[in-house]
């Protein structure tokens, strides 16, 4: 299992373009990719659940990845979060 945290830097919080990118990226991997914010945990492969986290600038997100391609998945998720959110 690999895990890391990310703080949302985008002043608009999570909006259409980065959210779509994030879900697309997560869906490309076999591993389970779980995002935790506060007491809510959701799969990063689900758009509606991701939107329902209501992420705003400054919110902390914990990312937990488990599965055969977890290493590549971790790198890809890190990249997308840092560059887009």
């Amino acid at each position: 299992m690999t895990s890391f945290t990310h703080t949302i830097a985008d002043p608009l919080g999570i909006h259409a373009r980065p959210a779509a990118l994030l879900v697309k990226t997560a869906s490309a991997f076999r591993s389970s990719i779980i995002l935790r914010h506060g007491d809510k945990e959701i799969s990063a492969k689900k758009m509606i659940a991701l939107m329902s986290l209501g992420l705003k600038q400054g919110d902390k997100l914990e990312i937990r990845i488990e599965g055969e391609d977890e290493e590549q998945a971790g790198q890809a998720m890190k990249k997308i979060l840092e560059e887009q959110l």
Binding site: A9, D10, P11, A16, A19, M47, I48, G54, E82, E83
Partner: protein, 544 residues
């Protein structure tokens, strides 16, 4: 005639035939059960395929005409459509409660929309509109209605309670001139699309769409926040004259110069954020670039731009303006901007944080690279350097020393380096209080009224709830402007004004009376501004 009010979210004026878009079928639940849930499930899945195709098409169309950011709205909708949670909600209603596909889509969609409606943030609440838009799309497909609206063959303005992005795209036509919504939100996807399509848009309008009659005429002034239903012929013709004055700059020769009653030439300058905005028309239509925001080159990337890359960019600006001046504002960025290459720490309060000149002085290597690039490019045109976010004379002196040092270094490398005028940006209350001292050290001053208003009135300019209090022509601001222009005149250096106040022709005459003669604004405002000068100021060199 009936006059109404609203909140303009995309400025502009328009007139035309009123087209009332009736609110979509209310999503009430009838007990429509089915005896064949398998068949209904199949219907739902087929309708979903069709909806996906439609969204892909909308995405393609809007990528081509509006750009990727806008098109992503439809991509995100497609992902919601295909989302497992949505599918589970709908299919369990069909299979377990024996609901028809249509009823299950309505009920399931409403459940998911409720998830967003309960949120605190208005941006988040507006996401529910995306879900309802999907429900409507699925519903139309399932019920075999392919409601494609037929726009009238003349200029028209839409009136609705609210519009979804896909409804707007359906109504899209060169004849669509304006949008009036009785509800609406400044943060909705519709607002983004309307702005991208440059369609004047008024929200929170005091009118009930279902009480308005279609087939009447409407005049819309979104800039002022008013609309006029059923205006008389005379009113309409005056209004249309005003519109054609607003959008045609044709009769004004581009090289016409305007003069204040004191005989000073009035300079019209452009604010731009990237060299792509610099086209030959703009080059002719303004007397220079009053503000080039250099931060765009740092944004959205992980590697810092090299000196060569920056040099190339500044050289393009200098040559592109063909000898007219170009004021380059040094990097003005803070933790609120997306610039991974700068590795900025997240801040509680970025507007008051490590930004602008503070950041540059803390990272001399970053700043040196930019200054070297500007110094080298200065030989290709008339470049000037402007320092943002100053709060002390010492900061300006530090930049001055650094600049001299770099110029000397470059000359030792054998390069021809012309002098580079160094300006102080007046945008903090501290810099206003110190304007005499700053004017004594700077080669020119430039007042940034957007930030100066925010910092003086202690109002976050992005807070929509305080928008009515955020007044750039506040008496406190006007008194500050008077102090600054006096200091500049006493020191015999030029002083320009940029920001919202510069382009607002309601205040131009007052500013010119105060002594200002250089106004820098977004290119889109230049034609209207010149029109104002054309109507009110002398156009030939007065005999003094």
């Amino acid at each position: 005639m009936r006059t109404g009010k609203g909140l303009g979210i995309v400025n502009g004026m328009a007139s035309g035939k009123l087209v009332v878009v009736q609110p979509r079928t209310p999503l009430h639940l009838e007990a429509e059960k089915t005896a064949d849930p398998r068949h209904e499930l199949d219907m739902y899945l087929k309708a979903r395929e069709e909806a996906l195709l439609q969204l892909r098409l909308l995405q393609e169309q809007s990528t081509a005409t509006l750009g990727k950011e806008q098109a992503a709205i439809f991509e995100a909708q497609a992902m919601m459509l295909m989302d497992e949670d949505f599918e589970d909600a709908v299919s369990s209603l069909i299979l377990k409660k024996n609901l028809s596909a249509t009823q299950a889509v309505k009920a399931g969609g409403r459940k998911i929309a409720a998830l967003f409606l309960g949120m605190e943030d208005e941006r988040m609440r507006s996401k529910s509109a995306d879900i309802l838009d999907l429900v409507q799309r699925l519903h139309s497909i399932l019920s075999g209605q392919t409601e494609i609206p037929v726009p009238p063959p003349e200029a028209f303005i839409l009136l609705a309670e609210d519009l979804s992005p896909s409804e707007l795209i359906q109504w899209r036509s060169p004849l669509l001139k304006g949008i009036v919504l009785s509800r609406g939100s400044a943060h909705s996807h519709l607002a983004i699309l309307a702005a991208a399509m440059k369609i004047p848009c008024l929200i929170s309008a005091d009118i009930e769409p279902d009480q308005a009659r279609g087939n009447t005429r409407i005049a819309l002034d979104a800039t002022a926040g008013f609309f006029y239903l059923d205006p008389g012929v005379e009113f309409m013709s005056r209004f249309n004259q005003k519109i054609s004055r607003e959008d045609s700059n044709g009769q004004i020769p581009v090289d016409l110069r305007f003069y204040s009653p004191r005989g000073e030439e009035i300079e019209v300058l452009a604010n731009i954020g990237s060299p792509e905005e610099l086209d030959p028309d703009l080059q002719k239509n303004c007397q220079g670039i009053g503000l080039f925001r250099s931060e765009f080159i740092f944004m959205g990337r992980r590697e810092l731009p090299s000196e060569e890359e920056q040099f190339e960019l500044y050289r393009r600006l200098a040559t592109g303006m063909k000898g007219k001046k170009v004021v380059i504002r040094t990097l003005d960025i803070g933790a609120d901007k997306d610039a991974p290459c700068l590795n900025l720490a997240k801040e509680e309060n970025p507007a008051l944080g490590n930004r602008g000149i503070r950041l540059c002085l803390q990272r001399p290597e970053l700043f040196r690279t930019q200054l070297r690039a500007v110094c080298r490019a200065a030989v290709y045109g008339k470049l000037m350097l402007l320092v943002p976010m100053l709060i002390s004379v010492d900061e300006l002196l530090q930049v001055k020393r650094l600049l001299l040092d770099i110029q000397q270094e470059l000359r030792q490398e054998g390069l021809e380096i012309p002098d580079l005028p160094l300006g102080a940006m007046i945008e903090t209350p501290a810099s206003v209080m110190l304007c005499k001292e700053l004017a004594a050290e700077a080669d020119f001053l430039s007042i940034g009224t957007n930030d100066l208003t925010q910092y003086t009135l202690a109002i976050d300019r992005q807070n929509p709830e305080l928008a009515s209090l955020y007044q750039q022509a506040h008496p406190a601001l006007l008194r500050m402007l008077r102090e600054v222009i006096r200091a500049a005149k006493a020191a015999q250096i030029p002083c320009s004004i940029c920001g919202g106040l510069a382009q607002d022709t309601k205040h131009t005459a007052m500013l010119i009376d105060m002594g200002f003669s250089a106004f820098s604004m977004a290119p889109v405002h230049i034609p209207g501004f010149k029109k104002f000068l054309y109507e009110h100021y002398s156009r030939s060199e007065p005999s003094l």
